[in-house]
Structures are given as C-alpha cells and as structure tokens.
Symmetry: C2
Subunit: 177 residues, 2 copies
C-alpha cells in the first residue's frame, strides 16, 4: 500500500515517467522502500485510472510523463497525517532468537557479519551524503533528516553487534571452564 504513496510523493515533487520513477526509487528510496519495475508500471496505471495522477506529456518510445492531480495531493496528505505505521518485521532479529540452534562459532559469524555490514552501510551512506548536492527545499531538508536516521541506525547496529559478540564470548568462556 505504501508503494502508491511513495510514487505519489515523488511525482508531487516532480512529474516523472515510469522509467524516471524506477531510477528515483533506486537512487533515493532504495533502502527505505524498494520498488520493482513491474510494480511501478502496474501502479501507475491504477493511479491514473483513479484520477490521482494524470498523463501530462508524451515523449519518444511511448514515454508517458505523469503529474499529480489535486485528488492525488489530497490522498498523499491524508496518508501523511494518518496513524503512525507499525514497525516492520525484522528477520535479522528473528534469527538472533534462534542462534542457539547452531554452533557457537557459526553464531559468532552471524553477528560478525552484521557488524561488518553495518559498518559498510554507514560508509556508503556517508559517501552518498557527500555526493548529493543539498538544496534547501523541502525534499532536501527531509531527505537529510531521513539520512541522519540511517547514520544513527547503522552506528547503533554496529555497536550493538560488537557488544553482543563480547557477551557471547564471555558466555562461551564461562561454559568452557
């Protein structure tokens, strides 16, 4: 359901074709709300049929550029003002619960991989942050706020994984005695 709002939000910022949207999803929303090509085109048709988007230009190779309508804007605002979304399922944590089912060494590897990935993700995010040319429009402002969340999130994960590895090592030691 959020896909449609992601699309509405991007198009509200700037009119786009399906292809444009696909690139924009990849570039700016990949880590927040991935979308596939197939999904985007299907939803585009539905949104246009519902009157939330309208084709405002056509280009070569059948390119259709969509713009948001007033109804679309209203729908977007309603979503933004709605009840807080519930936190998503977390497969990474689910696995942690069951780490007792594998050998301690393998469990350690899992946590170590999480630590490494968090570190890498953080580095990538910082690169991206440096590469983007930040405006002072709404989209940039809130984009920076979202990015700040990512930085804090990855840093937290890294620290937690490191802490967990220590806890696990300590427990293994005590057992060894």
């Amino acid at each position: 359901m959020s896909l449609r709002y992601g699309m509405l939000g991007l198009i509200a910022d700037r009119p786009s074709s399906g292809y444009d949207l696909l690139q924009r999803f990849k570039k700016s929303l990949a880590n927040v709300w991935p979308a596939t090509q197939s999904q985007i085109y299907t939803e585009l048709t539905k949104l246009a049929a519902a009157g939330l988007l309208a084709v405002t230009d056509e280009g070569p190779r059948g390119r259709k550029e969509y713009s948001i309508t007033e109804e679309g804007r209203a729908e977007l605002r309603q979503w933004l003002a709605g009840a807080l979304p519930r936190p998503p399922r977390n497969e990474m944590l689910l696995r942690v619960f069951f780490l007792g089912a594998i050998a301690p060494e393998q469990a350690r590897e899992y946590m170590a991989a999480l630590e490494t990935r968090s570190e890498k993700s953080l580095a990538e995010l910082l690169d991206l942050k440096a590469a983007v040319d930040w405006d002072d429009d709404d989209f940039s402002t809130y984009g920076r706020i979202a990015m700040e969340w990512g930085e804090r999130y990855f840093a937290m994960n890294q620290e937690w994984a490191r802490w967990a590895l220590k806890e696990m090592a300590q427990r293994d030691n005590e057992r060894g005695r």
Copy 2:
C-alpha cells in the same frame, strides 16, 4: 518465508500446538515477527506435510502438539547459516521524505508522535525485561541480546526524533525572518 523458520525455531526450543505457538508469538516475537492465527495453522499443516514437523501428542479439543524432526532442524540451521537478510522496508522513514507536502505544524506533529512512541516502546520493553525470568539457556541468552537491540533502537529513535524537531524548528524560524 521467515514465518516457517520462526515456527521451527520456537518448536525446536519446545514442542507446541498451534494455539501455544500463537501465544508464544504474541508474547516473545510480537515486535519482531507478528503472526496471525490463520497463518500459523496453515503453515503448521504444510510443515508437517513436508516432514519438518511431526504430531507427537494429541490432547482434548482436538489439540495437536508438534515437535521438530531432524529434517526440520536441518532446515532451521540452514536458514540461520544463510546469507544476511536484507533490511526491511521502512514506512515510517518513507513518510519523512514527503513531509514537505503537509503544513509544517503537521510535520512537527508526526515527528513528535514518533518521539512519544519511541519513549513508550522503550518503557514497555524495560517492563517486559524486568518481568521475564531469565535463564541461562540459549533461548534466554539470545533473547536478551535481541532485547538489547530493542532498547538501543528505541533510544536511538527517540533521540533522532528530538534532533529532527530542533532542525525543523530552526528552519521554520529562518524562513519566518
């Protein structure tokens, strides 16, 4: 797909009926991997048909108790040792990107609600932590590690939301001038 492993993991720890599983999901995995009654019973049937679980006891009111089989254990281990899961979609953050589409006051309310909820979730988690009687078995050990993640996560979210509110206020002030 993870549902089945969540079920396998719980049953590996202790044989359970569908009803038991439903309670256990609610009690310990609700925030990590919610599961509905309908899903659980459907999957239980499939897992038994696939030989990953077996009915090892029957009680009153048609109660069937399932235990994990060796094949089931192997399947669980394989999942645990597999590639890292990708981070989930994040609707909460997706909304942040588009906060420019509503009035500043409403955007402020959204962030304030996030802050409040994080604080509340953290408090609830700490209550739960105090209520559980922690063993030193695997399940408790990794349960505590997962809970630690929750604590850090909610704290991080609260701090971030507070920071974002300041950023937003500052920007509004600058614009007002």
